[in-house]
Amino acid sequence: MSNIKEERRKKEYNDLYKELCRRYDGETADQLRKYHNSVNRQDVCSRSTKPETVTAKRSRSYKNPESAFSKIFSETFLLCFIGFFFIITVGLGALYLTSPDRKYSESENRMLATAPTLTAENLISGKFMKDFEIYLADQFPIRDNAISIKTFSDRVLGKRQENNVYIGKNNFLFDSQVEYNEADTKAKTEAIDIFLSERPDLKAMIAISPNSSYIYKENLPYSLKLSDQKKDIQSVYGLFKSKNLVKLDVTTALENEKEKGTQLFYKTDHHWTTEAAYCAFENIIKQWGLDAENVSYEKLAVTTEFEGTLSGKAGVHDVKDSINIIVPKNSAGTYVVNYESQQRKTTSLFEKNKLNEKNKYEVFLGGNYDKVVISTTSHNENTLLIVKDSFANCMIPMLTPYFSKIVVVDPRYLTDNMDNIASDENYTHMLFLYNLNTFLEDTSIIEVF
């Protein structure tokens, strides 16, 4: 390395530096000066060939000399971290390759993305890359822990809302509300009206439950105003024109029940409790004037370890809920349940093994299915067609003494249409049982009716 060359280089650099200083002023010049010093320093370090002189010169050339400890520490520490980072990457890579993809996230209650297929077309359009990124995030091995970390730091900063879940007072979690939209709702009520007008003898009833964010609005985060679901439900009811449709005011019934101190909604899940369903059930039976011989109900606790979907979605795991079931006494063996699409028959409306899984609400009916047919030993002529969402699942066991046959339809999973289902049997009663969010959101009602 020739010294003349070195000198020329330095001169060139210094000239450039002066030129730059002339052009900039104030803080920018300070920046430049700092940079200038650091470059000079690096020159010294990188250009000497003997390691001894490096350390010697290095410590001398520092303007604010850092101790040797700090330098060594910061270097080795950060390099270690990068090594660790790379190991994690390789480890995660191995995990990806060896473990099968999760199709469904129980804690978030949604389907996860699966591996995109690599085709020339996907590659050129960029679809493969986009899908791959979603796939990677969804299948990330420590995804659930990551959500908890994020929620924790957000809560430290005072955030009361996470992934569209409100973190309320007294450990209440609330789902966000679906906004009422007259045009969309009208399409649904009209479809139902047409269906009912063709069956004038059918005793139909609609029961729409509010959500916990309405019933427990005092526990919402401070100053959060959500829509008045009681009014919204009245608006939905007002759109129906059928004469043979009874509209049940579930909201008032639940509000009265709440006064008695009954817990009506889970704190960690968006569903109502079995007690709330029982309250609605009593009103339905009363409204229809139904009677059954010697029926009394008993309440059984099935789990105290329930962490609902809101808990997973928000990453908040402060409390656990208890699930109770309410069933007619001595109801064992009084009905047969036929999951038609699954080609499976059972004699219970409860799936006990679901209590060992994450989403324990699926203990009722085993979750949501397109069509479930329940034949009971009850001696009466009444048959019931239920069109519902998951809120109904915990109420269905209570209804068995009153009907000889109950057909449960969930339009969200149905490929058939309601006209076909209604013509299978001569139903005496029909019940629409929904919570407001699902009723407003779900568009499959229009498709099946």
Partner: protein, 474 residues
């Protein structure tokens, strides 16, 4: 591919760095040459991941300008100055045409249709990511070669590596060729610099993922349902959130670019210097997106005559430069308005208010500057000029909505602490905080903090679905 994605962090970054550090040679030149080739290849993959079709455009553009550079220099050596000038003008025109064709053709056709009532068919072309950034880098090279400020790059690999270099490819900073020429063939790659780079990268990704994304989600939520009924307080909170988002997002990208560059031995210019502590608009633009404003100064303002041709000409030059700056950010009238807004303000500051400003107390100057900057962001963030004026009306209580409502108090309760934290960070409060006296403790804590930031970022990235890329119109 964006830096703040798991594909980048857990697949692209480790693999490309391992490849980059494989070539070791006793001869520095050979080592750097090999590293440049690897950098070029991984950068092309990086670009192709997000733009699988337009990569062809970029490759053609690189070849074209590589040949042009050599040609111009060759003609100068043979003293064919006129010929060189023709080639130069042709090259600039081709580069500007490509940028204009992809970025502004839709906008121009729309306006022609509107003004003349025509209906020329308008095929909406998707904008190639980063085209504004790399076209400007190419132009800096072509112009400097023509002016003889730099030698033409004879080797295609370093030249292509300069254009495609993945750290700054899609969101800047705009690295001028003259700044990086030497580093392309001779740069220092050291442990120290690498460790330094990690700190920069961690700071950048923290700004982007922890700050910009979270506060941006608040702004998006506020404007999602229209601004018809928002109170003045909510409108202000919204624009404060946007102001913070765009700064942390953009400067975060720049920090990440600087960090990645350092890890590979490059030194990029600083792109942001605490713009929100500016005490005047002139000062603001010395601190905001420095690489863009210096590009416009060096390649538009000064060639036009700068301020040396009298007041009238200077004013015209300023207006030209700032309308172009606005247009550079997107082919919409609101961006042009945003640019012109700053152009006019700079002229007013320079000629009319100079004395008044100097007498004004510093605190008031800071406040006024920030309010003006926020008004600027309203134009920048709105879909069109009409929407911008509606938003301004809401901010200044002219829309007839309430001044304060429960939404505003909910927003404050939820995000107030985060907003204060980010504001302090944006004005450099933490950077200027007195350091802990015991240096060992300080270093340990400081580095631990950055590691913590990286871990938090990973957690956020995995669980977060909101991770916008704001520069798709640039």
């Amino acid at each position: 591919m964006v830096f703040s994605s798991s594909v980048f962090l857990f697949a692209f970054l480790p693999i490309s760095f391992i490849l980059y550090f494989i070539p070791i040679s006793r001869k520095k030149g050979i080592e750097i040459a090999k590293k440049n080739l690897i950098l070029l290849i991984v950068s092309l993959i990086f670009y192709a991941w997000g733009e699988p079709t337009y990569i062809i455009l970029m490759v053609i553009s690189i070849f074209f300008n590589y040949v042009v550079g050599i040609d111009i220099e060759h003609l100068f050596e043979k003293s064919k100055k006129k010929h060189a000038k023709v080639i130069f003008i042709f090259a600039v025109a081709v580069n500007l045409f490509l940028l204009g064709y992809f970025k502004y053709s839709g906008f121009i056709i729309d306006n022609i249709n509107n003004i003349f009532g025509l209906s020329i068919e308008n095929r909406e072309l998707p904008l190639p990511v980063g085209i504004s950034f790399y076209t400007f880098q190419i132009l800096s090279y072509v112009v400097d070669v023509y002016l003889g400020k730099v030698r033409a790059q004879k080797r295609i690999v370093p030249f292509a590596a300069y254009i495609t270099m993945f750290p700054q490819l899609i969101a800047g900073p705009i690295v001028q060729y003259s700044d990086i020429e030497k580093q392309l063939t001779d740069r220092v790659i050291s442990k120290e610099k690498f460790a330094d780079g990690i700190v920069y990268f961690a700071r950048g990704i923290g700004k982007k993922v922890l700050f910009a994304n979270t506060i941006g989600a608040v702004y998006t939520a506020i404007t999602a349902n229209g601004i018809g009924e928002i109170s003045a307080a909510t409108a202000w909170i919204g624009i404060i959130c946007y102001t913070l988002q765009i700064y942390f997002d953009f400067s975060g990208y720049s920090d990440m670019a600087v960090g990645l560059g350092k890890m590979m031995g490059f030194e990029f210019v600083r792109n942001f210097n605490f713009p929100y502590i500016a005490h005047s608009i002139t000062d603001f633009w010395r601190r905001w997106h420095i690489s863009l404003s210096s590009w416009f100064r060096d390649y538009v303002y000064i060639p036009l005559g700068g301020s040396r041709r009298g007041t009238k000409r200077t004013i015209i030059n300023i207006l030209i430069v700032w309308s172009l700056t606005g247009m550079w950010h997107g082919a919409e009238w609101n961006f042009i308005a945003w640019g012109a807004f700053y152009g006019i303000l700079l002229i007013v500051e320079k000629y009319l208010l100079k004395d008044i400003i100097e007498k004004t107390p510093m605190f008031i100057r800071h406040v006024i500057t920030m309010v003006v900057v926020m008004i600027g962001w309203v134009f920048f963030s709105s879909a069109d000029i009409g929407a911008a004026f509606n938003y301004l009306a809401a901010m200044f209580c002219l829309s007839g909505n309430a001044f304060f409502d429960s939404e505003a108090s909910y927003l404050i309760l939820n995000n107030g602490f985060a907003i204060v934290l980010m504001c302090l960070s944006a004005v450099g409060f933490f950077a200027k905080m007195p350091k802990i006296k015991n240096e060992k403790v300080f270093t340990v804590l400081n580095r631990l903090m950055y590691v913590g930031i990286l871990i938090l970022c990973v957690a956020y990235l995995i669980s977060e679905t909101y991770n916008p890329f704001l520069y798709f119109r640039f």
